[in-house]
Chain length 195, copies 2
């Protein structure tokens, strides 16, 4: 079956775009390359994404959403808040490490794209911080945590663990001491959250 | 008095090097430029620094030492450990902000140099972490802090506050919320240090 006989969805375009970006690199990938990979005209792609910039933003958002999607289940869980917080931070670190180490070329590509799409990154951070807020709020309700302003505290926890999720630290993540460093920071923060 | 009549010290060479780096940029600055600025032969410069790389490393170390020198007085003080910790972290953030905002060209130059001189940066971080260890150790002795391994805890505090001293975050330091973010992270860490 020729690709053109399938329905051209935004998701299919985004998948093809990721593929094209991986192969051509973010500097060279064009909408024409994406259309060619799908066996459609570039006009068909533009019907879904009005500009090349909109397409790049959407594919960046999709990449970031994969991480927040993985984590949302932990945030929404009903386990003990402290364990949930530790699990959530460990899952965030693991997801980022996997992205950086598993497919370094794609990771480098998305590093360029996130640099271009500050708004998508801002939404992603807001999304993650709101998941963290939910966990901290739950801990305040059970009396496990003390936080006058759970949202501000969530922001502080997110920023204090930046070394373990901010892509600019990716090179440090495979250092021998990284796991111990992560645990020491999380332990200190969890102690700081207790009443 | 001609510059050549002064004694050519390592310090004078480093001062001139910083000046040349600022004017020419790190990519173009040469030992010949430094010698010319001092009115000496490049051989005289090489008698103090055997290679261009050694000169660049020494000027990087000097720049980093300026910050650790400013902070060492706080670490060695005898005020209450919690206040000393807060002062030290605030002074580190202030010193970095001043360097980044006060002379952005020189800061950009040194960002290139620190990238080249991993060993000098490693020593700088070890120096700062040992100052922090001293403060935390003092807190353990007075009973203000609990830390089974003050050195590991100091490392965790340093890493958890990275957003407020790692030059890769320099752009965030002038954001309106930066000061509040800093206080929230420090408050959480100080709570985590209490017994």
């Amino acid at each position: 079956m020729a690709p053109t006989s399938e329905i051209l969805t935004a998701e299919r375009i985004l998948e093809a775009t990721e593929d094209v970006l991986r192969r051509h690199g973010p500097a060279k990938a064009t909408v024409v390359d994406v259309a060619r990979a799908l066996g459609v005209s570039h006009g068909s792609v533009y019907r879904h994404f009005r500009t090349k910039a909109a397409l790049r933003e959407a594919v960046t958002k999709r990449w970031l959403d994969r991480t927040s999607g993985e984590l949302s289940g932990i945030a929404a869980g009903d386990g003990a808040p402290e364990a949930r917080l530790r699990d959530w931070l460990a899952a965030l670190f693991a997801a980022k490490r996997r992205k950086a180490g598993g497919d370094p070329e794609l990771f480098a590509t998305y590093s360029v794209l996130t640099g271009e799409n500050g708004a998508a990154v801002g939404e992603h951070i807001a999304d993650l911080t709101s998941q963290l807020t939910r966990i901290i709020q739950a801990g305040v309700e059970t009396g496990d945590f003390a936080a006058a302003d759970p949202q501000a505290t969530a922001r502080a926890v997110f920023q204090a663990t930046g070394r373990f999720h901010d892509p600019s630290y990716a090179r440090e993540w495979e250092e021998p001491g990284a796991e111990a460093d992560f645990r020491a920071v999380v332990d200190l923060l969890v102690r700081g959250l207790r009443p």
